[in-house]
């Protein structure tokens, strides 16, 4: 018999498989076309960004911002370097404004209530309904507005006056007690401003001035400049006095644990001691006399010696600055506590040096919630016929005990001018889509002399048929027969600013003034020198005793979130996924409990507990935290939305549910420090979405620090830097001694490729850990610049977040039981661009390789996703796209930076040192015919850092800042001596006032 395949069969098989192979090559993808502009818009060159100056309104600080737009789309926010408040930096909330602009859950059209649901209507119809509603109300109209710029505020007031109604301002985060205290102390009815840069010593009585209090970016810059050790070894000291270490508290040098509500007594005792040695307390002398150290020590449990020590520091290391207590510490004695702190400042000589009552912070809301609660009473009593709500969400931010949604039902006509169908708007009769600040006109007046324009950076996002609230009001006024002098809000604003200019009587023509305002983003008007005020006789009596709290159990602190504020920015994936700077938790809420307390209660991190106050109840997972008093627990505001958007709804809990609707009599502010809570385990657990593995360095030289006196004595210089002997294959495995500095790359014998390294830059970075406050602005800036995707709650719980940079946080010294040093260290960890990168040799397809300029490059389209590089990276800075996360709901994708690839699933990514910015700077330099200068390349993280902790540049350039900083005796590289990775990032050690055990690097 014949064996084997016949020739015919063979050819048959060959033919079919050959044809099959050919078919596979055909693609069914649609052909996509690029069509150039027929008539190009002015000022737009495709591929070149256009920048606009504006003001960020995410919080009340009033930071100036620059908006980068590409082809008519806003894609990045940065601080305006000319603006004194932001100084070029911007916080995470500021960056996230883009996700507010492109929020897919914004209202698309005006909505009218019909029965239980809402129907979309046209603007004409909506405006007609609005007019009808307001007219029908006669003068029983109330406008409740969130924080607005001065011109819009003025327009609102004029409009409401025209109909005989009232305007009240409401913001859930209101420093009304501080304002009242300033009025009582100095006769200036406004928030003072603070100069942390001039302070030699700072006492914070609970104010989170680096995270969420009044003007965090500005305060961070000033604080970092003062407390960052320079070559003269000058370093300011920071003592934190309070029940809980906020992010600010974590940056302190010393923690004096103080029960919530007793801060005022401590401040008075310290002021008493200072005034005894010469400080003038004026009309408060008697008050201070009543709060001598012994009396106060007995009341609050802090030793007399400690009080004396504190007083002595405040004077000897001055100029001192005391701030406090912030929103969480706002109890029934809030005004009194603030007043006590102002008295301490005056007695300690801060006024006019670090504290400026007349240089008022005008843009912050200081409206008392009591005004709104009074309105609620009127609403319930049926006295209000029409209610206009603008940019405010009281149904969510007020405690349920206030009964706001119920009161709304008693108002015949409610209209909400807002950007989404939120908890409040979903009770309104008419809902009008407002514009986002990035697509609208407005202005800001953060200081008496500073005025800034808020201008639209792009045409309104077409997905949303929105209108500027100013335009709506002008149209309404017209309908009511009132002429407010302008057709549109733009005209009204311009008029207002030209009036401002006229009042200056300067020689600059009006138009030139207007254009300068638009271009530079801020105008500094001379207001004349003002004398620092002195203490006045208070016109009301205050009690300084700690407030009585409801309920029993553990003291509850409800604090504003540094990511969401009062919850306003909760529908932004960037912020939800940003690990909270204190807890490192994302996407869900947590209750902070001291580890000993948790252990006594039989609970640990991840256990879900029931938190009960006399006013409400919640279930939330526990996070144990050594930085809080044993008898105190804390919850952040901003979670627990029910109608806010797909990223916010159903996530976390709203701690306002635990609070009563109680007002502090003196200032009218809402009491946050009001109640105690009982914590009970529910028996359930949940996985915590955290980036934190361990916060103990575990005997590894990751963030060594140095004591100031040791630094001054030169002890670091004397320290022997361990020499690395690199075993190189070339030359027969001879060990080559090296220090592994970035500028040494590439070592002789380890050369990759055929190029002369001296002709190229070596990009490197220096990060000053003495300045870094752990605020995480860099994380969001990087995400915004580099199209880094958000992965969601479930993926975050699995440990799959995609952040290119993370803030590691280590507890070296935290003691909630007695006053003493606190040492919490932050380490921004990003790709180190190692000269001897472990990731490069193991990638099977060369997706990870080293460029001649020293960058560790990741080629996305070459990556097959073996993840060997991530396994071999000792710093764990490589992140993997486990799914394709790039498909985001419109119009969030409008934010993407066209200069950076959007990665698909199955691909590894990591920090690229903003290579797109490097290339852009190099192109610009080539076009200009010059070399790249130091400062031309600013990666997004450095650009955004309020503390100016990050410096990037070419370390081969001896004049560059990064080269100079890397020479500092404080500089070290993470793990380098252990594994010879030769990182390009030099970290500068944190400097402490207490002795530290240095783990040998």
């Amino acid at each position: 018999m014949r064996e084997g395949i016949k020739r015919r069969d063979f050819l048959r098989v060959l033919g079919v498989s050959g044809a099959g192979a050919g078919l596979v090559g055909c693609s069914t993808d649609e052909v996509q076309k690029l069509i150039p502009y027929v008539t190009a818009p002015e000022e737009i060159t495709p591929g070149v960004a256009t920048w606009y100056s504006t003001v960020c309104s995410e919080c009340s600080a009033g930071c100036g911002a620059w908006v980068k737009t590409r082809e008519g789309r806003a894609i990045k926010l940065e601080g305006n370097p000319h603006h004194p408040i932001s100084g070029g930096a911007l916080c995470s909330r500021g960056h996230s404004a883009l996700q507010g602009l492109y929020d897919p859950d914004r209202l698309t059209q005006p909505m009218r209530r019909s029965g239980e649901s809402y129907e979309a209507i046209s603007w004409d119809e909506a405006e007609a309904l609005l007019l009808e509603g307001v007219q029908g109300a006669d003068s029983d109209v109330v406008l409740i507005s969130g924080r607005t710029g001065p011109t819009l505020t003025g327009l609102q007031e004029r409009m409401i006056e025209a109909v005989g109604g009232r305007r009240i301002e409401y913001d859930a985060i209101s420093e009304a007690p501080l304002r009242e205290a300033a009025r009582l102390a100095f006769g200036v009815d406004a928030l003072p401003s603070f100069d942390f840069e001039s302070a030699g010593i700072v006492f914070s009585f609970g104010a989170d001035f680096l995270g969420s209090w009044i003007s965090p970016v500005e305060h961070t810059r000033g604080f970092a400049r003062a407390s960052g050790t320079d070559e003269t070894f000058r370093k300011s000291r920071f003592v934190f006095l309070g029940p809980r270490l906020s992010l600010t508290g974590q940056n302190a040098d010393e923690w004096v644990p103080v029960e919530a509500g007793t801060e005022g007594l401590v401040a008075l005792a310290i002021a008493n001691i200072i005034s005894a040695t010469g400080g003038d307390a004026g009309p408060y002398t008697e008050l201070l006399g009543a709060h001598d150290p012994q009396t106060v020590s007995d009341q609050v449990g802090i030793s007399v010696d400690t009080l004396h020590e504190l007083a002595s520091l405040f004077v000897s290391e001055g100029p001192g600055l005391a701030v406090g207590p912030g929103i969480a510490g706002q109890g029934q004695n809030a005004t009194a506590v603030n007043l006590a702190v102002l008295v301490l400042n005056t007695v300690g000589g801060a006024v006019g040096r670090t504290l400026f009552p007349r240089q008022a912070h005008l843009s912050a809301t200081t409206a008392p919630a009591g005004d709104l609660l009074a309105i609620v009473d009127s609403m319930s009593a049926g006295q209000i016929q029409a209610l206009i709500l603008h940019g405010t969400n009281p149904a969510y931010t007020l405690p349920p005990a206030a009964g706001f949604p119920e009161a709304l039902a008693s108002v015949p006509f409610t209209v909400a001018i807002t950007d989404r169908m939120d908890e409040t708007a979903s009770h309104a009769d008419l809902v009008l889509p407002d514009r986002h600040f990035l697509e609208a006109w407005g202005d800001s007046n953060p200081r008496p002399n500073l005025w800034a324009i808020q201008q639209p950076a792009m045409r309104p996002v077409p997905h949303f048929d929105s209108r500027a609230s100013g335009d709506i009001l002008l149209s309404l006024a017209r309908g009511l027969g009132q002429d407010l002098g302008a057709e549109t809000f733009y005209d009204y604003l311009r008029m207002s600013w030209l009036d401002l200019h006229a009042a200056q009587r300067s020689e600059e023509p009006a138009e030139a003034f207007w254009h300068r305002a638009l271009r530079e983003g801020v105008i500094d008007l001379l207001t004349g020198d003002q004398e620092a005020p002195s203490l006045q006789v208070p016109d009301r009596a205050l009690t300084f005793d700690p407030p009585a709290l409801d309920g029993e159990g553990l003291t509850l602190l409800v604090y504003p979130s540094s990511r969401f504020g009062d919850g306003y920015s909760a529908n932004r994936p960037w912020l939800q996924e940003l690990p909270d700077p204190v807890s490192k938790i994302s996407w869900h809420s947590w209750v902070e409990v001291h580890p000993e307390t948790a252990s006594d209660l039989g609970i640990s991190t991840g256990d879900i507990v029931r938190v009960t106050s006399p006013h409400g109840q919640l279930e939330v997972p526990v996070w144990t935290y050594p930085g809080i008093l044993r008898n105190t627990v804390a919850l952040a505001m901003g979670g627990g939305h029910t109608r806010f958007g797909r990223f916010a709804d159903g996530r976390g809990v709203n701690p306002m549910a635990l609070l009563p609707a109680e007002i502090e009599q003196t200032s009218g502010s809402l009491v946050h420090l009001a109640t105690r809570v009982v914590i009970e385990p529910t028996g359930e657990r949940q996985r915590i979405a955290t980036i934190e593995g361990s916060s103990d360095q575990n005997d590894r030289p990751i963030t060594p620090a140095v004591e100031l006196s040791a630094l001054q004595a030169g002890q670091l210089e004397e320290e022997e830097h361990s020499e690395i002997h690199e075993l190189q294959a070339v030359g027969g495995f001879v060990p080559v001694p090296t220090e592994g500095r970035p500028e040494d790359f590439p070592l002789e014998g380890a050369r990759h490729g055929q190029y002369e390294p001296e002709g190229y830059a070596r990009w490197a970075m220096a990060v000053d850990l003495d300045k870094c406050t752990g605020c995480s602005a860099c994380v969001t800036a990087c995400q915004s610049e580099n199209n880094v995707a958000s992965v969601g709650e479930e993926q975050s719980k699995m440990g799959r977040d995609l952040h290119w940079i993370r803030l590691e946080r280590f507890y070296e010294e935290v003691n909630a039981d007695e006053p003493g040093p606190v040492d919490i260290r932050f380490l921004p960890m990003l790709c180190q661009h190692c000269g001897n990168a472990p990731c490069e040799s193991v990638c099977p397809v060369y997706a990870a390789y080293h460029t001649p300029e020293g960058l560790n490059a990741q080629v996305y389209n070459r990556c097959v996703g073996t993840r060997y590089c991530a396994n071999n990276c000792p710093y764990k800075v490589r992140v993997f796209n486990w799914f394709d996360f790039s498909d985001v709901p419109e119009p969030l994708n409008w934010q993407y930076n066209p200069d950076v690839t959007v990665r698909t699933g199955g691909v590894m990514e990591k920090c690229s040192f903003c290579v797109q910015r490097i290339r852009q700077a190099e192109s610009r330099a080539t076009l200009d015919g010059r070399p790249v200068r130091d400062g031309d390349v600013v990666p997004a993280c450095q650009q955004s850092c309020p503390a100016e902790a990050i410096v990037f540049g070419n370390i081969r350039d001896p004049g560059s800042r990064v080269a100079q900083l890397s020479e500092s005796e404080r500089s070290y590289r993470v793990l380098d001596a252990l594994i010879n990775t030769q990182p390009a990032i030099n970290y500068l050690r944190k400097v402490t006032f207490h002795p530290v055990e240095d783990i040998h690097v």
Binding site: E808, V842, R867
Partner: protein
Amino acid sequence: MSSLAVESERGAQTHPDIQSYGEVNVDILKMLSRPGKLWWFLFGLATAGVGLLAFSWGNQLITGIGLTGLNSPVGWGVYITTFVFWVGIAHSGTLISAILYLFRAKWRQSIYRAAEAMTVFAVMTAGLFPLIHLGRAWHAYWLFPYPNERLLWPNFRSPLVWDVFAVTTYFTVSSLFLLLGLLPDIAAARDQAKPGSLRHRIYQLTSFGWRGTDRQWHHFGKAYLYMAALATPLVLSVHSVVSWDFAMAIVPGWHATIFAPYFVAGAIFSGVAMVITLTVPIRKAFGLEAYLTTKHFDAMAKLCLVTGTIVLYAYLTEFFMAWYSGEAPERQAFWNRFFGPYWWAGWIMLTCNGMIPILLWFKRVRHSIAALFVISIFINIGMWFERFVIIVTSLSHEFMPFAWGTYRPSVTEMGIVIGSFAWFAFWFLLFIRIFPPVAISELKEVLPAPLSRSAREEAAR
């Protein structure tokens, strides 16, 4: 002849109970007859398992590798564990068929065929995982050096590329070696099969026209010898290369020079245990007690004992060196294996690989087929967990404490891992039904020369 002499002669023989050559043909080829219910049941299970594998993998390809439980820092988990597990198992087959051939060990004859088949199928199973664990598996061919217009080579410095060459070579050589050795036996089966049937056609194709002439036998002998010599270094090199996936990394717990011999010993250890696990049921099911005697199992058990002791020594060396280094990351990585979140895996590993093989020191245990079967299963559980412990615990506890994290395998991953076992079983079950799983021709070589009837009667008296 006295009975004592007969006894000692018996003892010297490897298969004392086989009487004649003809018996061998009949017994072995009988295994290729119509399969019984048990086989169909097992085959059905295996097919279902392969279906699970296909479904899980397909789903993973479409939806994304995120269907696993992997994360940062644990980028490799049960897929790579199972990959190393199967590659390891493959090695003992080649050891038994090639190395023991060169050493002229007489007891290998009846088991080496099944072992060699196990090798080929184990490599086939292992070879799935480098594809399965990729983020973009459709670009896997980029790891091969093929001519392309961008003039790109793969990175030859990467151990993963070495794996590509090692595993491909191993698969090629092992399958050729298996096929070569099978030729005379397939011919025997062909001659027995009904002409014109499907079976006959298959045997015709795969016997490559073997006629059993002197010349063919001569060439066969030489070819087999050279193939054995070629396959021998692979036993040591392939798993050394696979171990370098870990040893070449800087991960504490991976970066140790002992990995190559440690893994090779471990491979033989687990592979021989798997051979025991496979041959005990085959022996029972097909009544091969005369062919697979306690002598064979005793020899395999001794091999397990030796390699298991080497593995235990390697563990102790690792612990000692980690402590001796004085380096915190190294010391803590090993401490973490037994007292960290994966402590249970560490102790399973130590117990199954370190404690249980101690039983093999006892002859009674080595001569008990049932005991060996149970022990072999524990050894393989232990060896799977050894790779899990090496990979997962080391990755979860590296240099940067803030980045430490744990990993839980997902349903998709377990589906694919279980499916891989089913895939292996699928091919093995098919093999034992189609091709003779005991080497007929080689077996005959070690049987004593056939005596005439009268001589046998003489010997019995």
